[in-house]
Amino acid sequence: MAFIFRLPDIGEGLEEAEIVEWFVAIGDEVLRDQPLVEVLTDKASSELPSPVAGTVLLLGADEGTRLQVGEVLIEIDDGSTAPKVASEPLSTQTSPTKSQPPTPLPEVAPLTARPKAAPATRRLALDLGVDLTTMIGTGPGGRITVNDVHAAAPASTSTGGLSNDDSTASDGLGQAAAGRHALRGIRGVVARNMTQAWTEIPHIHTMDEVDASLLIDFRDRIRDMDRSGATRVSVLVVAAVATARALRRFPVVNGHVDGHPGDAMVIPEHIHLGIATATKRGLVVPVVHHADTLDLFTMADRISSVVGAARSDDLSAADLSGATFTITNYGSLGGRFATPIIPPGQGAILGLGAVAERPVAIDGEVVARPTLPMVLGADHRLIDGDLAEAFRRAVADDLAEPLHLLIGS
């Protein structure tokens, strides 16, 4: 007989959840309390364990789709003879955390009401000069999301020119009172990670400048296109696409050394790019997952969304985990060459300097050209100079002639 497990309200007043991943398939035998599925709610992602032991008869929804609380999640034949149902809503009132009255939100928020947005979102709106009182968000019940705010923000980062246009400067730079301060929070995490990286990884760096004339022209022409996301395409975005292509060609650069001083090399199945981002609280590296499957516009969207979330402190744990390779756009702060440190658990890092007009020798003539300085930092246990340079050049070639991006790698 089928045991019907309906999607429970596992938070406090949740209405729906997204099916992220099934751990079981139809026909599988499951044990009581065995994880069945990962779901994502507006609060968190959670694993739901099986209420009974038995055979899976039916999955209520596909991965990537949403289910309402109370809809059938899964049916399991538990060998019993009477139909049973778990997760009829119980009248539980226990609530050690901030519980909100479960009054349904109106379909569309009245424009005169206080804007429906989280405090962090309101703060971001204030920072970006976005007026929330006239906005209806794309979230549940018209809630305004971080992405809505970014979409409504004046395109301040798209001023063109030669800058790398991803300013990452933070307030209060270099300020602290005299005395001893414990390194807490992000500062503490950065301190520990960098110490581990610097003491464990023997770094080598290879650097050069790329003639960026075609790249800047390419970027500016894309930005003029009447297409959503076009204004978000930046040098960093093009470099991210080129890097993902090069990583596919050279999987070892996407890998890392495991154990200390080095027992094995691990080559990940997927390519996940970390984007080093300076925030008011310190350096954060949100991740663009499956970067090699993204086209230029999707890459632009994803980078601007994770970087925006990083700056407004709105990242989930998943947004911060799994990077296989990192790009640091230190040039957004100015500066030509740097020697970036490889995050622990990765094998290499790409640094981009500031684009500027510089003298270049072409056919015996010195001419002024916009150039992009770039650096590859590599773990010498894994990567020798020849591979480091071959990889850096693969990225450089795509940036020097972005038409390469049209050609399969």
């Binding site: 497990f5 309906r6 999607l7 429970p8 309200d9 596992i10 938070g11 406090e12 309390d33 609060k43 968190a44 992602s45 959670s46 694993e47 739901l48 364990p49 099986s50 209420p51 778990a86 997760s87 809503p89 119980l90 009248s91 539980t92 009132q93 226990t94 609530s95 050690p96 955390t97 519980s99 009054t103 349904p104 807490r184 929070g185 503490g188 995490v189 520990r192 990242l315 989930s316 744990a317």
Partner: protein
Amino acid sequence: MTRPSDEQLRAILVDMVGARAQAGRLWNLQRQGQIGTLAPIDGHEAVVAATAHALDPASDWILPQYREPLALQRFGPEVLDQYMLYNIGHPDGSRLPPSVRVAPLQISLATQIPHAVGLAWGMTLRHQPGVTTVFFGDGSSSEGDFHEAVNLAGVLRAPVILLCVNNQWAISTPLHQQTAAESLADRAVGYGIPGVRIDGNDAAAVFDAVDEARQLALGGGGPTLIEANVYRLGAHTTADDPTRYVPAEDLRAARTNDPVHRLVSHLADLGLWDDGAQAEIEAAALVRIDEAFERAMARPLAADAVFDHCFLTDTPRIARQRATLLAAGPHGHSISPRSTDE
């Protein structure tokens, strides 16, 4: 110094291991939609179980916050029954139990502290033996109720043990944003009572401190403030995602100091603990919680029980709402969420 005997330590560990196993089952029941929001005990096992073992269930009272019940087994099996009733949302879970000296959970932060002081003072006035012990968190120690109650306890020399479980977090607020003070125990000075700071992951240290505070209170010496330092090893509640704010490094470091693992390895070194014993204790604890859950589900619950515990006699509004709910049939889903008198 009253070190617990090895037998006492083992009995404490039995309760801690049982609580840890039951906490896992409880989490799953919540994720299966069978019980409501709850606050996991993970990381608090030693401070709660060792306190219970340093007290006398026949004369002493415990007033919990909301994380403690699974490790209060020593006070009687009714504690678990009561807790499971609470978890399924049955109003009986919030009653003062008739047979055990453990008060119901308090969600409204710090309100249990004045209750404990009043109860202790009342016991003195009635010449009843015993002490009351009240659990509260670092966050609760910022509430006005804490300061008012502890001040009064000092004045009255009430026989109360004020047990602050400092787990370094109040939901997502870390301790350094909770207070500028070096230590929560230092507050005792301001109320003229002794304050001690102990390692709450060390069951023997907890037992010792609680025993000493109890002797002081029984001898008329009044209250003691104990700050027991632990680390919250799980989520704040089932509705929380701590990975968003607890630094992974800090959590990893705290796990190396897990109170259960510490006592397991101590007693294993003495030859008093092994994997086989642990597996049996865990299995028995799971049977107990499953049975308590079944009993709770079997307890009759009137459809309109939600209206029963606010007023002695229904106000006109509650009477109308009760009638509307009962008219809507067994599931009550068809009533409109807003009636005219809201």
